[in-house]
Symmetry: C2
């Protein structure tokens, strides 16, 4: 199968590498010139569960796509704020039969994908795989993971099941979900609390959890996510989700960790994905006429902080 990985960072490289090893015709597309050039000249270098691999994979800079040859499957793995530009840049590769699988973190990406791809060709999912980028052209891929995915288009269940098989045939351990939005919203509740609150309070998750207001803030934010999800027919089990979120406070498991948004903004002065987490709930809330003031305010605070730190 002709597969294009759109956004070939750490996770995109893992999927590209594994799908290539599984016998597919994989092309990587990315927007970072140093990374693209390194792969072009020296191949993709990976430490794959301890084994050093170098794989020659076709790679293209997204702004310089010349081919008009349609691809069978595009897997989207950009940062959320780069998704729209990526979809514009890869337009020449999208044909009437090109399936597009969106595996980005966060919610509401379908609003962007829909602008470029017919609904019946869109699939969304969640992955528990991990991956690390060591430098341009170099990734570190350890451990196991899984993928859940579902069709957005009506009557495309079989296509989603087939797509999961393609991924599983390459060891990606994918399965069809009949309620992918539940998993996506549940995961988004973790990101929608830990990311923004730890970033704005300049603390790790255990530090947040030790403060008396933490629980009430988590409850209010999860309830906003749940109200928006309910309007879309996704009925979150709110107490279970709150308990799941608050497992992050445990200093003996992951509590001492600073969430990715903290690392992006506070450590590296990079723009955040807030618009695709709390900001997505704000936008959907406005559209559905559901008040989401905590998500609104947290999104505004993070954007102000981005400007104050001159994040890029």
């Amino acid at each position: 199968m002709k597969i294009t990985i759109a956004g070939a960072g750490a996770m995109g490289s893992r999927f590209g590498l594994m799908l290539h090893k599984g016998g597919n015709e994989v092309t990587l597309v990315d927007g970072w010139p140093a990374h693209v050039n390194q792969i072009k000249e020296h191949g993709l270098q990976a430490n794959f569960n301890g084994e050093e691999l170098t794989v020659q994979l076709p790679v293209e800079l997204q702004s310089e796509i010349h081919s008009e040859e349609k691809t069978d499957l595009i897997i989207l793995f950009t940062k959320a704020m780069q998704l729209d530009k990526m979809l514009q840049d890869i337009q020449p590769l999208i044909g009437a039969h090109t399936n597009v699988l969106c595996l980005l973190n966060g919610i509401g990406h379908e609003d962007i994908v829909e602008k470029y791809v017919p609904m019946e060709n869109i699939f969304i999912g969640n992955t528990m795989w991990t991956a690390g980028l060591e430098g341009p052209g170099k990734v570190k891929l350890f451990g196991n993971g899984s993928v859940e995915l579902q069709n957005l288009g009506k009557n495309q269940e079989q296509a989603a099941i087939d797509l999961a098989s393609v991924l599983s045939d390459s060891g990606l351990n994918a399965k069809y979900s009949d309620n992918i939005h539940y998993s996506i919203y549940r995961k988004a509740c973790v990101n929608g609390t830990m990311n923004g609150l730890c970033t704005i309070l300049d603390t790790n998750m255990a530090g947040l959890g030790e403060t008396r207001p933490a629980h009430d803030m988590v409850v209010t934010i999860v309830n906003e996510f749940a109200a928006v999800a309910a309007h879309e027919g996704v009925m979150l089990d709110i107490p279970e989700v709150i308990e799941h979120v608050e497992e992050c406070f445990n200093p003996e498991t992951i509590g001492m960790h600073y969430p990715s948004m903290y690392q992006d903004l506070i450590t590296n002065h990079r723009l955040t994905e807030i618009d695709y987490i709390n900001g997505a709930i704000s936008r959907k809330g406005k559209k559905y006429n559901i008040p989401t003031p905590y998500c609104d305010f947290l999104t505004q605070l993070i954007h102000s902080k981005e400007e104050i730190l001159k994040a890029k």
Copy 2:
């Protein structure tokens, strides 16, 4: 007149000094032992518009008040969170005819004063005087100012007018206001936006003002203050108040300044007055069934930050 200054920090010392010079029998009460001892041993030292003064004023540590002699007037000038304890400690000084004037920043102090003083004896106000504490027993008092005040009790207008005269006779430039709550709410809108937002975003007022979300955050917070005020019959001119608040963004006037809450919490790791600014709006909102989510959330964030910084 026998006047007790309850909370003899910078502003309390100014009022005490001026009322003493004006011929009143002033006693200072404060909770900071080093400050009280210094005044006891060496008098209150003041740089009063350039002139070095030392004034012997009776002073008592609030936890060691032995006198039961009632005072005519108590002027409250504690930090907001110390108000309740102060009122407990000065109970022996409060008689049936003791007037109590509350000049603290913020709103909702009357809820606390009412627990200890009959309504007809309570007066509240606003002051534009400034004062600086240089160290224990030493203050710096420059410039001019004014006081506005009003009775809380019914039919106590004349008492309020008389009280303003007492202050004015000592040069404090006080006048009766028939709408003191308007002035208090208008000033609280400045504190309720600049203090919390600059503190949580770690920036000065100009830095906040330069960010794109600043205006919308100010508008939402001012509207919450206005909704609560309206329920109490105080109809804020919302566009005028927003314009007044946003004058703080001007880097050529006061924009480069870090608000007092920033100095308390971020610079000095001290507890803040948030419960008497946004927190007061939250409490009143709950009581009146008016949603105040931005004030709720900002209060929670500041309290979390206090705990993270181990503020005392």
